[in-house]
Amino acid sequence: MAAERIPLVAYLVLEPEPHLVAQKCETCGARFFDRRNGCGSCGGRSFEPAPVATAGHLRAYSIVHRAAPGVAVPFVSAIVEAADGTTVRANLVEVPADPAAIRLGMPLRLVTYPVGADSEGTECIAFGFAPAAR
């Protein structure tokens, strides 16, 4: 039987514990989430996988009320600084889409949740950030 879960993006690793993996430049240490042809920071050409911290804090956000057809609104788009300094973008989840409920600088943790299945029943797993338990 085919895999029952698949990550939304290749830089999300589900096992053993969900976390993000960056491509880290072996020369300068710059971290990227996409397939690389070279390093935009230093021109280096070799990379190694580097796990990204699952704890972080909220650097910026926008509560999006208008989006392309088919995208559910409102949602909270968040720019998160992970504890190791890597910047990540994802939805803020488990928080109302209301500026009164969101505090810049609030501590966050990476969470995963399903966002639909394909015709074979494979579930797509996305990630987001939720308030960290205090």
């Binding site: 989430f33 956000y61 509560i63 999006v64 057809p69 088919g70 559910a72 788009s77 639909g116 015709s119």
Partner: protein, 407 residues
């Protein structure tokens, strides 16, 4: 410095014009381009036969050869045509190309033209692929994604990106928030009431701006630029050729004392949220140095307020305020038309409108018109030095500094 010396090795705006921004039912991109081009030629007292080169900026019709189509309507002289596209910096990039043509000595007179026909086009993108039920998930693309990530991994739409840029500034600078962004939109909508070429000419109260529908917090609908149609053009001339023209042409010529275009250098996080700050600071610093001008010398500024949150961060990026002081700057009224550094007296993109390809030339039209003392009801008294700034996501930033003729 004698006029002779000051005019050699320099670039001047001889003529400039723009169409009204807004909806132009029944006019196509070539009609709009022709109106602006002929207006700029007439304004400069020259004809299409005097031009050595044409740089034509348009984004959504970028593969249509609009520069050649324009010459087909107003004079097919066989000169070099450079059609350029560079996101929201498209018009300013056309200006840069014309400046480079003159500075290189290959042209002594060149036109920069920006035009866009957008109608009611939105900027939110189309329905994401795979938003419905997929057949079989298959990782694809540079991120190995199995479906669209828009609205799941945050947003990459412009209102959201610039909202986040403003909120990041708010994160680092207490005292900046929704109120300050609303004040900026209030100012720009007030300014456009005096501009007959603006898309909107209606004042809105602070309360109306805050209560208008939310697009992407902190930007409400009245804090976002509209889409529209329009064109703007400028005829540039070398100092040497200008010295052969009439006294009146020389008197009305405006000096382009700096022309800079930057792209975004690497910063951590730039891959998930475009950094619109570093390249703007780099462009501004290079332009101030090129012109030998300090931010304190500026009498007016037209900057890229695609969203109210963008204008606020550019106060700081363009060094118009103390470092970190953008919130105090708007709270003090400094960027209002009767303030210390009037910003976007045209109404800015928020209220004058933003036909993308036209914007970078229209900003320069606005500054030049004030420096000539020809801005009518909205004239900033005795304006001598002005700065025009645009930014295109992706990213490109252009800064031009203009100075009134000494003659």
């Amino acid at each position: 410095m004698s006029e002779e010396t000051s005019m050699s090795d320099s670039v001047w705006i001889l003529g400039t014009s723009m169409t009204r921004f807004g909806r132009h039912e029944g006019l196509d991109v070539v009609d709009l381009a022709s109106e602006a081009a002929l207006g700029a030629l007439d304004d400069g007292g020259v004809t299409v036969y005097d031009l050595d080169a044409l740089a034509c900026g348009t984004l959504f019709a970028a593969n249509a050869g609009v520069g050649q189509q324009l010459l087909g309507q107003i004079g097919q002289t066989g000169i070099s045509v450079y059609n350029v596209a560079n996101a929201c910096a498209t018009g300013a990039t056309a200006l840069r190309v014309a400046v480079m043509a003159i500075r290189s000595g290959e042209a002594s007179m060149a036109m920069a033209l920006g035009v866009e026909k957008m109608g009611k086009m939105g900027l939110l993108g189309s329905t994401p692929k795979g938003a419905g039920r997929a057949k079989v998930f298959e990782p694809s693309g540079r991120f190995g994604s199995v479906r669209s990530v828009d609205g799941i991994l945050g947003t990459k739409t412009m209102p959201g990106v610039f909202g986040q840029a403003g909120m990041r500034y708010a994160h680092d600078h207490p005292g900046v928030g929704f109120e300050q962004f609303a004040k900026i939109a209030h100012k720009n909508h007030l300014h456009s009431v005096l501009n007959p070429l603006a898309q909107y000419r209606k004042p809105f109260s602070l309360a109306e701006i805050k209560a208008s529908p939310m697009v992407a917090y902190p930007n409400t609908l009245l804090m976002c630029c509209p889409t529209g149609d329009g064109a703007a053009a400028a005829v540039l001339v070398s100092g040497e050729r200008l010295s052969t023209l009439s006294t009146d042409q020389r008197r009305r010529a405006v000096k382009l004392s700096a022309s800079v275009l930057t792209s975004d250098p690497y910063v951590e996080g730039g891959q998930v949220q475009p950094d619109v700050n570093t390249l703007t600071r780099n462009a501004a610093d290079a332009a101030y140095e090129q012109a030998g001008v300090d931010p304190g010398d500026l009498d007016l500024v037209e900057l890229h307020d695609c969203f109210a949150s963008a204008e606020l961060i550019h106060y700081d990026n363009l060094r118009l305020c103390e470092p970190g002081g953008a919130g105090d700057f708007i709270d003090s009224g400094a960027p209002c038309r009767d303030g210390a550094v009037p910003v976007n007296v045209s109404g800015g993109l928020i209220s004058k409108g933003h036909p993308i390809g036209a914007t970078g030339v229209a900003n320069v039209y606005e500054i030049a018109t004030h420096l000539r003392g020809e801005a009518g009801d909205r004239q900033i008294p005795d304006a001598r030095v002005g700065l025009a700034h645009v930014i295109g996501l992706g990213s490109s930033c252009a800064v031009h500094i203009l100075e009134r003729s000494a003659a």
